[in-house]
């Protein structure tokens, strides 16, 4: 059903979160669905909550040292795209592998006999490819400490709720506007009349708006919370320190599958992450390996 949703979105190209048809959403709420589709590089979510489907693309897994002959089909997906891709695979000896994901669009992996064959498939089907997609995405991202933020004055007046992110406990604690105003450092989340705003303090009178995911990582900078298993090539990040979508997407594109939620340790497990990609991701997040 979610494959139909992806096709529907591919035809619509863009829309609002509430536009998603209920009968194609399976059981999840639209926000989670959009977030997962964004992790899988099918759509991009704008800051105003609207979405736009990304063009079809091959996210090549690994570089030429690893072979570079498999790629994940990302972006828009319609019957026409699949037909072209199937034809290109037949011409160049490629193979389409489909992996089911629960309540999410299936992961389509193109396996070619060689990197040049994969490149030929991309050319014949007219679908651009991104070499070593996960690593390249991460390589273009600034570290969390330099993550974009907008300086702003402190919130004044009546607010509905104020929360502070605890670096030790890694969750939000009740706070007050006064504490937020007086704090020299820290991450605060303030509920105004109509929305939430996330402020990171860099001085008593200096604060900036920042993405909430990036803000949590910035607040927890240096924490030894990441687990890296080199043998199984898994990277584990606590759920409360979930990275910004683009970083998560880069790690997701290493395998093409959404991260598994380890409910025992309450962490995301990204699979098949190359070591150099994992190191780069750890460096960008500013966290340290436990």
């Amino acid at each position: 059903m979610t494959d139909r949703l992806l096709e529907w979105m591919s035809y619509r190209e863009r829309g609002q979160r509430n536009d998603l048809p209920k009968n194609l959403l399976s059981s999840s709420n639209p926000f989670r669905m959009l977030e997962d589709l964004s992790l899988l590089a099918h759509v991009e979510i704008q800051q105003d909550g609207s979405w736009q489907v990304a063009p079809p693309a091959f996210a090549v897994i690994g570089d030429e040292s690893d072979g570079g002959k498999t790629a994940i089909l990302c972006g828009a997906r319609t019957q026409g795209v699949l037909e072209r891709l199937t034809k290109a695979c037949e011409l160049n000896g490629g193979e389409l592998r489909r992996h089911q994901q629960t309540d999410r669009p299936q992961c389509i992996i193109v396996a070619a006999p060689s990197a040049s064959a994969l490149s030929a498939i991309a050319n014949v089907s007219g679908i651009p490819r991104q070499r070593d997609a996960g690593f390249t995405l991460l390589a273009c991202l600034p570290p969390i400490r330099d993550w974009p933020r907008i300086s702003c004055p402190m919130v004044a007046g009546k607010v509905a709720e104020v929360k502070r992110f605890s670096k030790v406990d890694l969750h939000w604690l009740p706070s007050s506007l006064e504490e937020a105003s007086q704090a020299v450092r820290g991450l605060f989340r303030i509920k105004r009349d109509w929305n939430w705003i996330t402020l990171i303090k860099s001085g008593k009178d200096t604060q900036s708006q920042i993405d909430v995911y990036a803000g949590r990582l910035a607040a927890a900078a240096g924490a030894r919370k990441i687990r890296l298993n080199m043998s199984s090539r898994t990277l584990c990040i606590p759920v409360t320190l979930k990275p910004p979508t683009v970083i998560s997407r880069a790690l997701t594109l290493c395998s093409g599958m959404l991260p598994v939620v380890d409910r025992e340790n309450w962490q995301f497990v990204f699979r098949d992450v190359p070591i150099r990609t994992a190191h780069l991701a750890i460096s960008i997040t500013g966290l340290r390996v436990a």
Binding site: E7, S10, A57, A76, T78, C140, L141, P142, P148
Partner: protein, 646 residues
């Protein structure tokens, strides 16, 4: 000895001189060689500078070409978009026009049907009235004929009596005359017998036949002609009488708990401004072109029980409303309260006036028609005994079974409905290419014809209506003739068209490190067709084109990756961390378009140097396939050829 010494000294001097000369010559040759080498280097530098300038010019030209191409593409895209928009607007306009025409046609059809109904009703009334008039005339004629016959019979009797009397008087007169004649004859016989005994013939008596009287006028009188000549006052009233429809207006006042009924007389074309149907209340003026002012009606139990008819005798005008079992009133545009209608309509509110005995039957029929339960108005003023008013009749479907035909006006009738089911609906009535809807037409009479676009449609195996090209991208109109129409659209698969737009989805992320780069889905894209390449970090990372271009990649601040924005399509990456063979690698990027290279441009000196240097180190090649090694060896041979050819 001296001679030998002299010769030896001279030889030494000569040898020294020769040596000095040779040294000088060698030094001069070396100086000349150095000067030549410097001149050559200077020439090569100038050549390289010129090549760089030319390359920059070419690059700038390429950029201009790219910009021009991009601009043309954008213009073309805008033109296509404008054309599509114009096409869409035209189709929308055509669709609107068609809908408007269909709506006007439907309204005209409804009006025509109403007129036809009114005309039929009027004709029926006229026919009934004519029949009644004919019956009455026949009765009158029969009565007159009977009277005439009776009169003739009386006259005949009187004639017979007169004849009998005359006959009797004549007979009496003849008897008296005969008696007188017999007495006279007896006297004469007595005289003759006395006078002559021999003369017998002169004494025989004469008997005369009495005279019969005949009135010959009776033979000329014709009753028929007399009947035909008799004036017919009813016929004279009917001739030239113009008829129109009479309606009723029902006003329900729930606050005052009263119900009022008034007469609304239609004003067809040619009817006067003022009429006088009730001399007691004076003339009634025209309300508008279609009707006259309301005339308050006194709602008696008999008013709605039969035919309703009013006349303006002076202007030979007549309005009538036929008799019916139930009276249905509906809200009409531009009219207050409810006006009487001939039959119920789907989805409209109606009020029903009926005899009390029919209330339960009508309530059951209303539920059958999908209407909510009807409202009753008990004890409302104005409703005569034996009648009931029911409100809130909203029929939503046809009556499936109607036993009592008196209630046929309650049936809103069948409605043709065009339905699109299944298919992959992207927007309302817009479906994805390859997943068209199944077109169903409900309650369509057998005399209708279905068109999809300009093609006649037929029912397919799955029960849907299909026509040639019905599932092709574009807008399609399903037209039921006669009947409604509805359009749907098949949206073309973007993969078969211009595809999807690549845009700057995260404008503030990538440019922080890589200028002009943008992330869109899984792609890292760059403006002006440049490419972003990232690889593992090293002290030197060079990106090389197939036969030209060399560009070093820069290291991230965290030194965990090397990134670069390349104005060319890279074919190789040379990653080097030291001078040892194991401290470097050559990555063949394996793009079939770039590995061949362009043979038109002159060979790039820097590219040649970089390729020769890497080839000389014999560092490993990735991927470790024969094809990759062949590509690299081809490049290395090209670099060697140029060097050797110099």
């Amino acid at each position: 000895m001296k001679m030998l010494l002299t010769i030896g000294g001279l030889s030494f001097v000569i040898a020294s001189i020769i040596t000095l000369l040779i040294v000088r010559v060698v030094r001069q040759a070396r100086r000349n060689e150095e000067a030549r080498r410097k001149a050559e280097e200077s020439r090569l530098k100038n050549e390289v500078y010129r090549r760089f300038e030319r390359q920059e010019r070419v690059e700038a030209e390429r950029q201009r070409g790219f910009e021009e191409k991009r601009r043309r593409a954008a213009e073309e895209k805008a033109r296509i978009a404008a054309a599509q928009e114009a096409q869409r607007q035209a189709e929308e306009e055509a669709h609107r026009t068609a809908e408007e025409k269909a709506r006007i046609a439907a309204a005209q059809e409804a009006q025509r049907q109403a007129d036809e109904e009114a005309r039929r009703t009027a004709e029926e009334k006229t026919r009934i009235a004519a029949a009644q008039e004919a019956q009455r005339q026949a009765d009158e004629e029969a009565r007159r004929t009977a009277e005439e016959k009776a009169r003739i019979a009386a006259e005949q009797v009187a004639q017979r009596q007169a004849d009998e009397e005359a006959r009797r008087a004549a007979e009496e007169k003849a008897r008296i005359a005969a008696a007188q004649e017999a007495q006279r004859q007896a006297e004469e016989e007595a005289n003759a017998a006395a006078e002559t005994r021999g003369s017998q013939s002169a004494l025989r008596p004469i008997v005369q036949k009495p005279t019969a009287f005949r009135d010959r006028r009776g033979g000329r009188r014709t009753v028929t002609s007399q009947v035909n000549d008799t004036p017919k006052p009813e016929q004279k009233v009917g001739v030239g009488m113009r008829q129109a429809e009479a309606k009723f207006r029902l006003a329900i006042d729930p606050i005052r708990r009263s119900i009022l009924l008034s007469t609304v007389l239609a004003r067809p074309e040619g009817f006067p401004e003022s009429i006088n149907v009730d001399p007691a209340s004076g003339p009634t003026q025209a309300f508008d072109q279609a009707r006259y002012d309301d005339i308050a009606a006194i709602w008696t139990p008999d008013l709605l029980g039969g035919e309703f008819r009013v006349r303006d005798e002076s202007q030979q005008l007549e309005w009538l409303r036929s008799a019916r079992a139930v009276h249905i009133f509906a809200a009409t545009v531009g009219e207050p309260d409810f006006l009487s209608v001939s039959a119920a309509q789907l989805g409209s509110e109606h009020a029903i006036v009926c005899p009390e005995a029919d209330v339960e039957s009508i309530e059951a029929l209303a539920i059958q028609a999908g209407s909510p339960a009807l409202r009753r108005y008990p004890n409302f003023q104005g409703v005569p005994a034996g009648w009931s008013v029911l409100g809130g009749y909203f029929p939503s479907g046809a009556l499936s079974s109607l036993q009592d035909l008196r209630f046929r006006p309650l049936d809103p009738g069948a409605e043709i409905r065009i339905v699109f089911i299944e298919g992959f609906e992207i927007r309302n009535a817009a479906f994805a290419q390859g997943h068209p809807p199944r077109v169903l037409i409900e309650r369509m009479p057998p005399n209708c014809v279905v068109w999809i676009g300009s093609e006649r449609a037929a029912i397919s195996d799955d029960g849907g209506w299909q026509a040639p090209g019905w599932d092709k991208p574009g807008k399609h109109l399903v037209d039921v003739v006669p009947g409604p129409s509805q359009s749907y659209e098949i949206i073309a698969d973007p993969a078969h068209g211009i595809g999807w737009e690549t845009w700057t989805a995260n404008p503030d992320l990538a440019p922080a490190l890589v200028p002009d780069a943008a992330i869109c889905g899984a792609l890292v894209v760059c403006l002006q067709e440049r490419m972003v390449v990232a690889t593992e970090p090293a002290s030197v990372v060079l990106a090389l084109g197939a036969r030209h271009h060399v560009k070093p990649l820069f290291l991230r601040p965290d030194k965990l990756a090397a990134v670069g924005v390349l104005p060319f399509a890279p074919a190789f990456l040379i990653v080097s961390s030291g001078r040892r063979r194991t401290e470097g690698k050559i990555v063949v990027l394996g793009n079939p378009e770039t590995v061949q290279g362009s043979k038109r441009e002159a060979v790039d000196m820097h590219w040649v140097a970089a390729v020769r240097a890497a080839a000389a180190r014999r560092i490993p090649i990735y991927p470790a396939t024969a094809a990759a090694k062949a590509v690299w060896n081809s490049a290395a041979n090209a670099a060697r050829r140029w060097r050797g050819g110099r």
